[in-house]
């Protein structure tokens, strides 16, 4: 952006409303969101570039603006609508502060009092002629070196916790990076010597490369810390298999666990996985519990009320 706009990277710019200043390059690298486009940002850009042809038409068209923003960043906007000749100070004033990226802790403080582990999947894709990377995952995967520091804070989620009763059975459904909190759960349960049964549903693309924390699950299974595991690797077979398919295969046992008071946790992709898993849970309750749809919905609602159905989806 700096090169494209012919800005001076050393130029001081304000990074907050208190007027704190940083050199432009540092501000863009560390303090402002420049990879994700939003409609308010596009609207704010309009008055900066009254001559930009087509931008006002785009902003007025709801569907077009959504399509445009997908997979594009600020540099695309600058180039596509020739937003040149805007002073850095002005441009920066319309940017929003870089929002934090939230990751579930993948470790238990009891097991690692001095550490926190994260499960970070590198976001990388090719779109509109350029390689693009996730802001935080890209930072972790591509730039950070051992010993570097990053600004972090702890965000507590009181709606996603192990049951207070260490004997309560738990069912964990966490494909992909959704596995993270469950690693923490099992570390915790191992540390406190919990007796409750546990069942993990995990899935990803390939067994050989994507079985996250494989050797740890194997050890926990062997030691009985984990009671059961079911795996779904979607790209290994000709038919795509996901966690919900594995849940269906085990309907009867799964329902028995629910009847036994098991707490169900779902972590991971919101758009597809969590929805499909929810539907699957519903149909398992209907089929195995011999309930109509309304009764099954009520059953699950009741579980939610009792905090026996917790989700951390994104």
């Amino acid at each position: 952006m700096i090169a494209e706009m012919k800005w001076n990277p050393e130029e001081p710019v304000a990074i907050n409303s208190q007027g704190e200043e940083r050199p432009l390059e540092e501000a863009l690298r560390r303090h402002f969101e420049i990879t994700v486009l939003t409609k308010p940002l596009l609207e704010k850009a309009l008055p900066l570039a009254p001559g930009a042809s087509g931008l006002s038409e785009l902003v007025e068209n709801e569907q077009a603006v959504r399509d445009y923003m997908h997979g594009r960043d600020l540099l695309d906007l600058i180039r596509d609508y020739s937003l040149f000749d805007i002073p850095a100070k002005e441009f920066v004033s319309i940017l929003r502060k870089m929002p934090p990226r939230l990751y579930s802790a993948a470790s238990s403080l009891k097991a690692y009092p001095e550490e926190v582990h994260l499960t970070v999947g590198k976001v990388a894709f090719h779109a509109h002629g350029r390689e693009r990377f996730g802001v935080c995952s890209g930072q972790c995967a591509l730039r950070l070196q051992e010993g570097d520091t990053v600004p972090v804070y702890v965000h507590e989620n009181s709606n996603f916790r192990l049951p207070a009763d260490a004997d309560a059975p738990i069912i964990m459904i966490g494909p992909g990076t959704g596995i993270a909190p469950f690693r923490a759960f099992l570390q915790e349960r191992e540390e406190i010597g919990a007796q409750g049964k546990s069942w993990l549903f995990f899935g990803d693309q390939h067994f050989v490369t994507d079985f996250l924390y494989q050797v740890e699950w194997q050890r926990w299974l062997k030691q009985g810390v984990l009671s059961r595991i079911d795996l779904a690797f979607s790209r290994d077979a000709s038919r795509k298999i996901y966690v919900q398919h594995r849940m269906l295969e085990k309907s009867r046992e799964l329902y028995a666990w629910l009847q036994d008071g098991a707490v169900v946790y779902v972590c991971g992709d919101e758009k597809h996985m969590a929805k499909d898993v929810h539907q699957t849970l519903l149909s398992i309750v209907m089929n195995e519990g011999g309930m109509g749809e309304d009764a099954a919905k009520e059953y699950i609602m009741q579980m939610q009320k009792e905090k026996r159905y917790q989700r951390d989806v994104y």
Binding site: F207, V208, T209, Q214, L231
Partner: protein
């Protein structure tokens, strides 16, 4: 060499593998369950021991070990699957099946072994059953390709004397069938066979529930070719051809290549010819020999369990007596024969029945498509039109055999169009070389072999060329560890892996495989190898006698001592 230490070891408790075999219910173990366990791509050690008898075992890609450990992933487990094909004969249909399995379920390559069979590397657990089923549907098997049983029976594929070959091949098949494990476990586990209720006695009449103390290897040679290295076999048969017909076989016992680093009580050994038997008696002889090893082999210490030690510990006379006692008749005097070479003859040869045979050099037995050399595709295209058969040679090459005269041009055209014969001019020296698989898949390898020998040969070729001997035929073999799958102890120049990049170099084997070689340089890296070889090769170029082979020359000139018994190998 004292015998007592090894003999004393017989007294010890049975090794753990003996327990695994006995408790396995005739090779079943818990294989059915562990092969179905989706949490690991591997299987437990006990079952892996048993899986060998089924023709496969667990390996992992050693190149990836450290990286995967960092990733909290188990090793990149994968299975090696070995086909049993007596005499290395495969039909074009069978070739096509194996070619497809290699591309679909293995690492995209097919390995021809030093015992005339096929190997697939890199088969994932979930594909094992399908792969083994398809191998069996093609009327091949993997049963007994590894494990403490008789292994793939080798047999000279010499196409020059095809009526003799045909007869000898039939005997190799009979031997192979007769000495196959009889347990139904293979069918139950891989082929969805019914679980057969049987009495323990009928399950394995020959092997019993303990099977053999170690692997057992049989090969049949047809002089003048010793391509199967008959002296390296536990039990070797040497075809005696009289008046153009197969009279019978000389019987040789107690050969074997493997040794253990640092243990002088282990050594490669040459088989000794003990007599002659008519052809129709050879299966009976083999059965009794195997039974003697079953009853007397060391079951306490596996490194002392090969048949060669059973014989060396008690003496050849003891063995011959025991064999005669069990046969109820005596072998005849061994008959004269002469071996001239143990390598392959390349290119087209005409068989006695008017059909043609083409021997294609396959460097280290590895069939895949190289960047500039579509070897795998070319052979697939040939298999698609070929009406004869394929024969794997004991030197890891392939013979496109029994080509009728009217089809010869078509096969020749395919060989030409795929450039199979002239990738680069392979030197005679390279065409007499062999390397075992070693890294990255073999768990035993201490150093590279298959991936490294071609580079080392570039340099050794240059030494011979610079000395004015560009067309010299020299048998050169490399093994990644002292187990010696490429039969290095018989080579004129041999390299046995010690640690990454370091080899023990041996000199003085014979061109026809009748003599062991001897250690010349220990723990040598490439530059030391070249430095050590250069003056000898120059000397050889200057002073070799007419037709004198390199291995004979180094003995005549005193570079190493002549070794005719394994008991002098370390002396």
């Amino acid at each position: 060499m004292e015998k007592n230490k090894r003999l004393m070891e017989h007294e010890g408790p049975p090794s753990d593998v003996e327990r695994i075999k006995r408790e396995s219910n005739y090779l079943r173990g818990t294989l059915k369950e562990t092969m179905a366990d989706p949490v690991s791509a591997g299987i437990p050690d006990d079952d892996n021991r048993l899986l060998k008898f089924h023709g496969s075992y667990l390996q992992d890609d050693r190149d990836l070990r450290i990286e995967r450990q960092r990733q909290k992933l188990e090793p990149a487990y994968q299975f090696m699957v070995r086909v049993r094909a007596p005499g290395g004969v495969a039909t074009p249909e069978q070739w096509l099946v194996l070619d497809e399995l290699a591309r679909k379920y293995a690492n995209g390559s097919l390995r021809l072994t030093t015992r005339q069979s096929f190997q697939l590397h890199g088969v994932l657990k979930w594909n094992m059953k399908t792969a083994i089923q398809q191998i069996n549907e093609a009327l091949l098997s993997t049963l007994g390709a590894c494990g403490d049983v008789n292994r793939n029976v080798m047999c000279n594929p010499n196409p020059h004397q095809s009526h003799i070959h045909a007869e000898v091949y039939e005997w190799s098949k009979k031997l192979s069938e007769h000495l196959s494990p009889q347990t139904n476990a293979y069918h139950e586990i891989w082929l969805d066979g019914e679980k057969v209720v049987s009495t323990k006695e009928s399950e394995e009449p020959l092997y019993k529930d303990v099977y053999l103390p170690r692997k057992f290897k049989i090969g049949i040679a047809v002089p003048p070719s010793n391509d199967i290295d008959v002296y390296s076999q536990d039990l070797g048969f040497i075809a005696i051809v009289e008046n153009g017909r197969l009279a019978g076989f000389n019987v040789a016992v107690g050969g074997g290549m493997g040794m253990t680093d640092g243990d002088p009580y282990t050594y490669p050994q040459l088989a000794s010819a003990i007599g002659f038997c008519p052809a129709e008696k050879m299966v009976e002889v083999a059965e009794k020999v195997v039974a003697i090893q079953r009853d007397f082999g060391n079951r306490s210490v596996r490194k002392y369990a090969r048949f060669k030690y059973t014989i060396d510990d008690r003496g050849l006379d003891w063995f011959v007596n025991e064999l005669h006692k069990r046969l109820g008749w005596t072998l005849e005097e061994k008959r004269p024969y002469q071996f001239l070479h143990n390598g392959d003859r390349y290119g087209w040869t005409e068989g006695s029945g008017g059909s043609w045979h083409y021997t294609l050099f396959v460097e280290n037995g590895r069939i895949r498509d190289f960047d500039d050399y579509p070897l795998m595709t070319g052979l697939r295209e040939i298999a698609a039109v070929h009406q004869g058969d394929f024969r794997l040679t004991p030197n890891q090459n392939v013979i496109i055999a029994n080509v009728s005269p009217d089809k010869k041009d078509a096969i020749e055209a395919l060989i030409e169009s795929c450039g199979l014969a002239n990738r680069k001019r392979h030197s005679p020296l390279r065409k007499h070389s062999m390397a075992c698989v070693a890294l990255p898949t073999c768990g035993l390898a201490k150093a590279e072999s298959e991936r490294y020998l071609p580079t080392l040969l570039d340099k050794i070729e240059k030494l011979f060329a610079d000395a004015g001997l560009p067309d010299e035929e020299v048998v050169i073999r490399m093994s990644g560890c002292p187990n010696g799958c490429s039969r290095p102890a018989l080579a004129e120049i041999a390299f046995i892996g010690k640690s990454p990049g370091k080899y023990n170099m041996y000199l003085g084997g014979s061109f026809n495989g009748e003599r062991l070689n001897k250690l010349y340089r220990e723990n040598a890296g490439e530059s030391e190898i070249i430095e050590a070889l250069q003056p000898i090769i120059n000397h050889y170029a200057k002073e070799k006698q007419p037709d004198e082979h390199f291995g004979d020359f180094v003995i005549r000139c005193g570079y190493v001592k002549k070794v005719l018994s394994g008991q002098d190998f370390h002396a």
